[in-house]
């Protein structure tokens, strides 16, 4: 008898934890911080049940360091943070350059600094893109519901394994703490992706030689393929290099592999955009407000639709460009001062009128506020 889909009342953070486990994560390192601590608490119980390991490190710097170490040891690994995301930046850059798969779940709260610890915010969007120094690619997903948090976590782990690049699950406190009745698929139905491993004999293994997909096969430490991993720009052998051509190949190589996977990693949904003259671009908890606003606006005969960004970085510009010819206005409601708004303006290039609604005081932007704004634009 096929196992029936189980319905559970689940918190967003719990869905992130369960998604990680379903995707094969068997190592977690984290540090207590509101609003992501539940993920650590849940995994501290669930991981050992599955033979996995949990460790609470001395800070977020140690957490991501341990996660990178575990991933190099061949185990899928995740770390969590809130504002501690700021402490993770240097090692995040290390993981980008050394191409180590890992997922960081950052549940955003009111910033900056200690900020509004129990209030939601979306203020870390640009930090998720440019928080660490130097040019580097990054994949940042932003779930807009509890169920989606589970599925996006699985995708995040899969993307990080497939592209050998850190992936950030950028959740806001609303999604992290809200509860919903969700049906989770049994693990047998969950598609998991594992990093490609070398199949040539060890003495022929060139650790950072790119395959046709642009992703080097990754041997785990202790598997008979001895090699060097360093945060210094390196040649194909993984050894430090100062040669400008090798430096270019190293850094451009990590960009190219993400560019090649651009369409796959860009998760976008559209709602009632077919005939839309006005669009709302939203992500995370703002999607909830936008959805109910659209229902009401449509009842008033205003042709408005939603472009829901499941991926923030790389920025899914095609999602806008496809509809720009038919759009008069675009509204971008965000719980920050307009961080994705800037990207929308950049892509829009003046074609449609782009407006924003911003709140940074811990409050949510309500459907009514969105309705009022769209009505104003639609006139």
């Amino acid at each position: 008898m096929k196992k029936s889909t189980q319905y559970r009342l689940l918190q967003g953070n719990e869905a992130a934890a369960e998604g990680a486990l379903a995707a094969g994560v068997r190592f977690f390192a984290g540090y207590p911080i509101t609003p992501s601590t539940e993920i650590a608490e849940i995994l501290s119980v669930r991981l050992p049940e599955l033979g996995g390991k949990f460790i609470q490190m001395e800070d977020e710097i140690g957490s991501i360091a341990a996660v990178i170490g575990a991933s190099i040891g061949g185990v899928k690994a995740t770390a969590t943070s809130g504002p501690g995301f700021s402490l993770m930046q240097e090692n995040l850059g290390y993981a980008c350059l050394t191409e180590v798969p890992l997922v960081i779940v950052n549940v955003m709260r009111g910033g900056p600094s200690t900020g509004l610890p129990t209030s939601p915010s979306q203020g870390d969007v640009m930090q998720a893109r440019w928080g660490t120094h130097g040019d580097h690619p990054i994949i940042v997903l932003s779930p807009a519901s509890v169920a989606e948090t589970f599925h996006y976590m699985v995708k995040a782990v899969n993307f990080s394994e497939k592209y050998r690049n850190p992936v950030i699950m950028l959740m806001d406190e609303v999604i992290g703490h809200m509860r919903a009745r969700v049906s989770l698929p049994p693990w047998s139905m969950v598609e998991t992706v594992n990093r490609i491993i070398p199949n040539m004999p060890p003495e022929w293994y060139v650790p950072y030689e790119r395959t046709s997909m642009g992703v080097p096969p990754m041997a785990s430490f202790g598997s008979g393929y001895r090699y060097h991993v360093t945060g210094l720009v390196h040649d194909e052998q993984g050894f430090p290099t100062g040669k400008s051509s090798e430096a270019r190949d190293n850094i451009m190589g990590i960009f190219k592999k993400i560019e090649r996977g651009f369409r796959e990693v860009c998760l976008v949904d559209y709602h009632r955009m077919e005939d839309a003259e006005h669009a709302i671009v939203a992500y995370g908890c703002m999607v909830l407000s936008a959805m109910s606003a659209i229902e009401e606006l449509r009842d008033d005969g205003i042709k408005v639709g939603l472009i829901k960004l499941g991926t923030l970085w790389p920025f899914p510009r095609f999602a806008l460009e496809h509809y720009l010819p038919q759009l008069k206005t675009i509204l971008v409601p965000e719980l920050n001062m307009g961080q994705i708004y800037r990207e929308v303006v950049r892509v829009d290039m003046g074609r449609a009128a782009v407006e924003k609604i911003n709140k940074i005081n811990g409050e949510l932007i309500t459907p009514d506020e969105i309705i009022k704004a769209v009505r104003g634009l639609a006139r």
Binding site: I61, G69, G73, G222, R226, F239
Partner: protein, 283 residues
């Protein structure tokens, strides 16, 4: 005794990275040689060793050897190594770190790794200075000594690294110098054999920077100084604090059998699986 020729052929990435980056007469090469001889003495297989390091002169050691080598970020080697060890407990994890890397930026990770007593061997290359960046003073630069950032003499008091790690809970602590090459090999062997967090502090000489800034002479002179000031632990036990002033106490300073982190966590897993019943929930 394995000769340098055999040692290089067996353990080093010699047709790739030599001659190495360290300055003429630097002690780091001596420590690396001691480590390789210890590994050879223990008969460890290259596949089962993970050699992790942070940033600095000390931390350039892993690139030269044919192990699983991981050159991490400044001060974070121990945190990386903790994750690696937990993921792959069968690996023999060795960490190379410097006095700055381990006790300045990495101090927080150092004391917590000691406290956890996770099974790995940390070799602290203590040359009293930041070498790679040009001779700035470090947490172990002696009071009054000179560095490129304390030209008028260091007003700070240095850590006693061995006492620090002992207080933090390391279950094996030993100290030697780059002069005592036989003791170096022996202590590293003991440290690797020890199950738990083992620290070997190696006082080493940096002729190019510390030596020049403090007029301590070249490599031979600095090594002779180490020979003079070193005193074995049991002899030191009979000496008064005044007599021990400025001396370096060498040998095994701490050797305790304490529960090891990975072993303790395996017990957590055993209990959790038992409680969760066969196969766990969603398997």
């Amino acid at each position: 005794m394995i000769s340098n020729a055999e040692l290089v052929k067996k353990y080093c990435r010699h047709n790739k990275k030599f001659p190495h980056i360290w300055c003429p007469g630097c002690g780091n090469g001596i420590i690396l040689s001691g480590l390789l001889r210890a590994v050879d003495g223990l008969g460890l297989r290259k596949d089962e060793i993970a050699f992790v390091s942070g940033i600095g002169c000390s931390s350039r050691a892993p690139v030269y050897v044919d192990f699983n080598t991981l050159h991490t970020t400044h001060g974070r080697a121990l945190a990386f190594a903790t994750g690696l060890k937990l993921a792959k407990p069968e690996l023999t994890v060795i960490v190379a770190t410097g006095d700055g890397d381990a006790t300045a930026i990495g101090g927080n990770h150092l004391i917590h790794a000691c406290r956890r007593n996770i099974d790995m061997t940390t070799i602290i290359f203590n040359n009293y200075i930041y070498g790679m960046t040009g001779g700035q003073y470090s947490p172990t630069t002696p009071h009054g000594a000179h560095g490129s950032t304390c030209r008028a003499g260091n007003i700070e008091n240095p850590f006693n690294i061995s006492a620090l790690v002992e207080a933090a809970g390391a279950s094996f602590v030993a100290r030697t110098t780059s002069y005592h090459v036989m003791q170096l090999q022996d202590l590293i062997k003991k440290a690797i054999r020890h199950r738990g967090f083992a620290v070997v502090e190696v006082i080493t000489h940096c002729p190019t920077l510390y030596g020049r800034l403090n007029k301590a002479g070249g490599a031979p002179e600095m090594l002779k100084w180490q020979r003079e000031v070193a005193v074995p632990k049991n002899k030191a036990a009979k000496m008064s604090p005044e007599e021990l002033e400025g001396r370096i106490v060498t040998g095994v300073l701490v050797e305790k059998e304490l529960p090891e982190y990975c072993d303790l966590y395996d017990e957590i897993i055993r209990q959790a699986r038992e409680k969760a019943g066969r196969g766990g929930e969603n398997e």
